[in-house]
Every structure is written in C-alpha cells, then in structure tokens.
C-alpha cells in the first residue's frame, strides 16, 4: 500500500515538474517564467525526498528557491526586458536549444541505461532505517574523506565574491554622501568665525 502510494506521488510530482518546466520556456511574462522555475525546484525537492535524501532536498529549497531565484526575480523585475524582442529570439535559437537537449538526453541514457546494466540498481532503493540522519552521514565523510573538494569549494566561493564585486561594484559619479559622524562631531569653532570689523564711518 505504502509503495503504491509512493509511486502515485512520484508520478504526480513528475508530471507537475514537467508541466512547470514547460511553463518556464513557454510563458510570455518573464516573472511568470521565474515563478514556474520556483515551482519546478519545489517539485524536484519532493522527488528527491521520495528517494530519502532529505538534506539535499531541503538545501535545494533553501539555496535555489530561497536565494538563487530571488536574484533571478530581482534581475527580471528590474531590467525591463522587451518581451517582443525576446520572443523573436525563440525561432533563432531553437536549433541550438534542440541540439543541447539532444546532448542531454544522450547523457541521461548513457548514465541510466548503459551504466545501470553493471550496477545493482535493479532492486531499487532500500528504505533507510529509522533514526538515520543523512545530514550526519554526509558530515562524516564531507570533512574527512572529501576534504580536498570541500576546500576547493571554499576557494570557488571566494572567487565568486571577488568576481561579483569586480563586475558590479561601481561608484556612481557625482554621488554626494553625508558623513553623519563628522556632522555630529562638528564644533562651533569649525563653522562660525567671528570677525572684528571697524564700524563704517560716514565720509
């Protein structure tokens, strides 16, 4: 019963996922497209949960939905994109898109089918025992066995920080700033000058 229920859930969410993915490329409004992409990420998170990888599923929501898509939304909302011009590009880029799609299908087939013949994936996923936390299991290997990859990730993130700042940081010319501390710390002597002056006399 439970297995049947899981299978039904899997197919429901798989269909939703494909629908959302189609929505991303077919909707006219870029903001709608971003929202479809958010939906697609959610569906993939549910699919990942169905194979019991809770840490990755929740991190997918946290990082992609919570952070990356917010950036997408910012960009799409604030770069008033001309929708008509974008639509015109569809026919132009279609062949390239199909070529990439074909390549990805080939890769997927290669991974699932060709490699699957030698692996023992035939019996499917074994349900994990109660109380098994795959966050802890991940932690146990990530910082010991895969420490090299982990440090490389740090360097890549550092590179990303530097790159983001060099690409987008610009001091706007003619920007007038006020230095509040300086304004508050000003003394009477800095601003007021008393000048002794001879009174004017009638000639």
């Amino acid at each position: 019963m439970a297995i049947l229920f899981q299978t039904i859930l899997f197919y429901c969410f798989a269909v939703f996922l494909i629908g959302a993915a189609l929505g991303v490329i077919l909707s006219r409004n870029p903001v709608h497209a971003v929202m479809f992409l958010v939906l697609a990420f959610f569906q993939s998170a549910v699919l990942w949960l169905l194979i019991e990888v809770e840490f990755l599923a929740l991190v997918l929501v946290l990082v992609y939905v919570g952070a990356v898509m917010v950036l997408f939304l910012f960009v799409v909302m604030m770069l008033d994109i001309d929708v008509e011009q974008v639509k015109g590009g569809l026919t132009r880029y279609a062949p390239l898109g199909f070529a990439i799609a074909a390549l990805m299908v080939f890769e997927l087939v290669q991974v699932i089918w060709v490699r699957g013949r030698f692996a023992s994936a035939a019996e499917g996923f074994v349900p994990l025992p109660e109380g098994y936390s795959n966050t802890e299991a991940l932690g146990a290997v990530l910082y010991t066995e895969h420490v090299y990859a982990f440090e490389i990730a740090a360097v890549i993130l550092l590179l990303a920080i530097v790159a983001a700042i060099t690409l987008t940081m610009r001091k706007r010319p003619g920007l007038k700033l006020q230095n509040i501390a300086q304004q508050v710390a000003v003394k009477r002597e800095d601003r007021v000058r008393l000048v002794k002056m001879e009174s004017e006399k009638p000639e």
Binding site: F74, E130, L142, I165
Partner: protein, 118 residues
C-alpha cells in the same frame, strides 16, 4: 522516514486551501463599486509619469549575489555542526581553513565598500 514527511505535504495543501478559501470568500462577499480613480495606481493625486518597472540600482543585485554565496556557506556548515563528534579535530581544522578563506572574502567585501549602503 517518508512517513514523517507526509504531514508536511498535507500541511502545505491545507495551508493553500485556507488561503484560497479566505481569498475566495473576500472576493465573493466584499463587493463594492468600481471606478477609474479607485482602480488607478496610488500616486500623489496625478497620473504616474512613467512606468513603475524601471531600472534599479545595481547594488541590489550585488546584495543578492553575496547572499547566495553566504547561504551556500551556511549549507556547508550545517552537516559539520551536527557531526562534530564524528569528524573531530581533523574536521575542525578542515572547517577552520574553509571559514578562514571565506573570512578573507568577507574582509575583501568590507574593504571594497560592497557592504556600504549609500
């Protein structure tokens, strides 16, 4: 494990249903007269001069990008924090190097003024 996640799925469904019912109720009951002035976008008593969706300061993108990077950093910290006793001293040093590299990035941001908001 999956059985524990079922209530969450249902909860999301119930939440959606409650929101839709409330909204539907309001749209159904709360009727009023509609006129052009009421439906026009709020502005100081005149028609808006230009479209709202204008180009925005690039600083907002920078904040969003930095947010993604730090969010990833937090995602890397979580498994470490729950497996402190398993990874021990080696894990501590590994995480020390990781954080040190990112603190360098953080200092770079700070010195470059990317965290100033003016």
């Amino acid at each position: 494990m999956l059985a524990n996640y079922l209530p969450i799925l249902i909860f999301l469904g119930v939440g959606t249903a409650i929101a839709m019912v409330l909204l539907g109720l309001g749209l159904l009951i709360g009727t009023g007269s509609k006129d052009d002035e009421k439906l026009s976008p709020y502005e100081c008593g005149f028609e808006p001069f230009e479209d709202t969706r204008v180009k925005f300061d690039v600083r907002y993108y920078l904040v969003a990008i930095l947010f993604i990077i730090f969010d990833l950093e937090i995602a890397f910290l979580f498994p470490w924090a729950v497996s402190l006793d398993v990874v021990g001293g080696f894990g501590l040093i590994a995480m020390g190097i990781f954080l040190a590299i990112l603190v360098v990035g953080f200092i770079y941001e700070w010195k470059k003024g990317a965290l100033e908001w003016d």
